[in-house]
């Protein structure tokens, strides 16, 4: 099963295409990393996959053929958006209540246990938590929904190194122990080295590279993900500049 399938997918804002001619299949059971420089179209692709935006061209389905944004798709996908938006004036307990009310499944004992582990008090307002705690709360709420696909948009961009490590550890635990498929975007390549099993490289709104990390490394004769991505991004940028 593919967790995300896109064919000829495109999104235009005004006259500029944020994403065009995007065709890919992201297999289930992996941590898939969406990599590319700022403005490459990563958020656009994720917003289309979770059904927040409507495609200008082509189509995208999730979780084995369900239209993005359909009730069945919403039910199986948990999305943590960039900067982990939460209702700042609601307490942590209220955020749990709201998320539980808005979803078919919600593992309340899991959510409480995890927040307890993290030392996040239930009575604290979400807006009063530190950046790392807010990100952890958003991730906990997403995982307590028991999703089949977890989508994270630049999850660690705003976090300090310790919070970053803790956050990724939680994601990896969910992926390995609970078998949740993960699709995450990042421009911090080093973070992805340890976690990503599948790579999608985007630049200037187009998919440049997609495949299993191991295959890609072997095919391109590179030792690390970072080198592979950097080399590829430099290449496309210079070729576009010289053209």
């Amino acid at each position: 099963m593919n967790v995300v399938e896109a064919s000829g997918l495109g999104k235009r804002y005004g006259r500029t295409w944020a994403l065009r001619e995007c065709t890919l299949e992201i297999p289930a059971g992996r941590v898939a990393a969406l990599v590319g420089p700022n403005g490459a179209g990563k958020s656009t692709l994720l917003n289309l996959a979770v059904g927040l935006s409507v495609p200008s061209a082509g189509a995208v389905t999730v979780l084995g053929g369900r239209p993005a944004g359909s009730p069945a798709a919403l039910d199986g996908i948990a999305f943590v958006a960039q900067d982990t938006p939460l209702y700042k004036n609601l307490s942590v307990a209220d955020m749990i209540y709201v998320t539980r009310s808005l979803n078919r499944r919600f593992d309340q004992p899991y959510a409480r246990a995890r927040l307890d582990d993290l030392g996040i008090p239930l009575t604290r307002k979400a807006g009063k938590l530190s950046g790392g705690q807010q990100a952890q709360l958003a991730l906990t709420l997403a995982l307590a929904r028991r999703p089949r696909l977890l989508v994270l948009d630049e999850p660690v961009a705003m976090l300090d190194p310790v919070a970053r490590h803790d956050f990724m550890a939680t994601v990896l635990a969910a992926a390995s122990a609970d078998g949740v498929s993960v699709l995450l975007s990042s421009h911090v390549l080093t973070e992805l080295e340890r976690v990503a099993g599948y790579l999608i490289l985007l630049s200037r709104g187009q998919v440049r590279l997609a495949g299993e990390v191991g295959d890609l490394l072997a095919a391109h004769g590179q030792a690390s993900l970072e080198q592979l991505a950097l080399g590829y991004l430099r290449e496309t940028q210079t070729s576009e500049v010289t053209r």
């Binding site: 917003n47 927040l52 958006a81 938006p85 635990a173």
Partner: protein, 354 residues
């Protein structure tokens, strides 16, 4: 961290039963309790104020009405007491009360309606809310309908209190000068138990749509107040008098300020329109120049003079008996407008790319 077992997955049925609507009640309450508390405080404070100032008014009115014989000096005194308390009252033409009450639906609508979607869009929390299992358009519909119904119920109760407050004015024929200007319709018509919730709901729906379109809280509030003001002025100034075809009558018509709303006056001669409103100077010079000044200054002096020369004065008016039909007409179209605005808002939530 403890390893968690694979949770039971739902069978891959694609026809999921939607989550029950009632789940949005607690969500809406938690998210908007501060707004609703603010509305409660505002309406509560105004209600106490109306109660405190209205009780002596009712007592004075009841005392004047119960007094016999009405022409006795004691009764005249009671009448004078009522008139004095009615005119010196905050709600009279000299007081700020009436103007303040006119602002209430606009304030509630703007501050409760505009942020509902604008705050989500401004702070990015729509990315959270619209990707939950409840579904975005159902989420928006449940929220708007719940808040709209609560606000309408609260303002309907408040409208009853406003009606109670003005009952001595309207029922006994006592007229505080200028309070109703020339009609029982013009002022305070929008603050009664039907129109007050209707205007509040309309302002709320305008706010919700403005928030969805503008996507920022403060500009959406400003836009809501501006659109509401335009709609309220257009309604009071132009639309309301056309709800039902005005009645017309000839002759010197002075139905009294409490029994009709005079829309317009004009004069005709030999069945043809002559002039609207006051007679032009040329006619007065022609026919009524010999009129002694003290007579001309009296009520309808020139009208009587011109009547002797074949000019018939017509008056179009809305009788006081149409007060409640007018209330329901205004309440009705505002309700339809609000439903339309909310429908457009939901459609935008459904369609609009994030």
């Amino acid at each position: 961290m403890t390893a968690r077992t694979v949770p039971a997955r739902p069978s891959a049925e694609d026809t999921l039963r939607p989550l029950p609507w009632r789940r949005m009640a607690g969500v809406t309450w938690r998210q908007h309790r501060i707004t609703l508390a603010g509305v409660a405080v505002l309406l509560g404070a105004l209600a106490v104020w109306l109660w405190v100032t209205g009780t002596p008014l009712h007592h004075a009115s009841a005392a004047a009405a119960a007094c016999h014989p009405a022409s006795s000096p004691a009764c005249q005194n009671l009448e004078a007491t009522f008139d004095a308390s009615a005119t010196s009252n905050v709600m009279s033409n000299k007081g700020p009360g009436g103007v303040l009450l006119q602002l209430v639906p606009a304030l509630i609508g703007a501050f409760a309606g505009a942020p509902v979607l604008a705050r989500e869009l401004e702070t990015g929390t729509f990315r959270y809310a619209w990707t939950q299992g409840f579904g975005r358009w159902r989420w928006a519909l449940a929220k708007l309908v719940l808040l709209g119904v609560v606000l309408a119920a609260a303002t309907a109760a408040f409208g009853c209190l406003v009606s109670w407050y003005f009952q001595p004015y309207s029922s006994t024929g006592h007229q505080a000068p200028g309070l109703f200007e020339n009609s029982p319709f013009a002022n305070l018509f929008g603050l009664r138990e039907v129109t007050f919730p209707a205007w509040t709901l309309a302002a709320f729906a305008i706010g919700a749509l403005a928030g969805m379109l503008i996507r920022r809280v403060v500009p959406a509030i400003v836009a809501t107040l501006a659109v509401y003001a335009g709609l309220a002025f257009a309604t009071a100034g132009f639309l309301r008098e056309h709800y039902l075809t005005p009645l017309a009558t000839t002759g010197t018509f002075n139905p009294g300020t409490s029994t009709a709303w005079v829309i317009g006056q004009w004069s005709a001669k030999d069945g043809r329109f002559a002039f609207a409103g006051n007679p032009p100077d040329s006619l007065i010079n022609q026919f009524c120049s010999s009129l002694p000044p003290e007579k001309a200054a009296g009520p309808d002096g020139f009208t009587q003079c011109l009547a002797q020369h074949g000019y018939v004065q017509w008056t179009s008016y809305q009788p006081a008996s149409r007060f409640w039909p007018f209330q329901w007409i205004e309440g009705g179209w505002l309700l339809v407008l609000s439903a339309l605005l909310i429908a457009v808002t939901i459609w935008l939530v459904r369609r609009r790319a994030a």
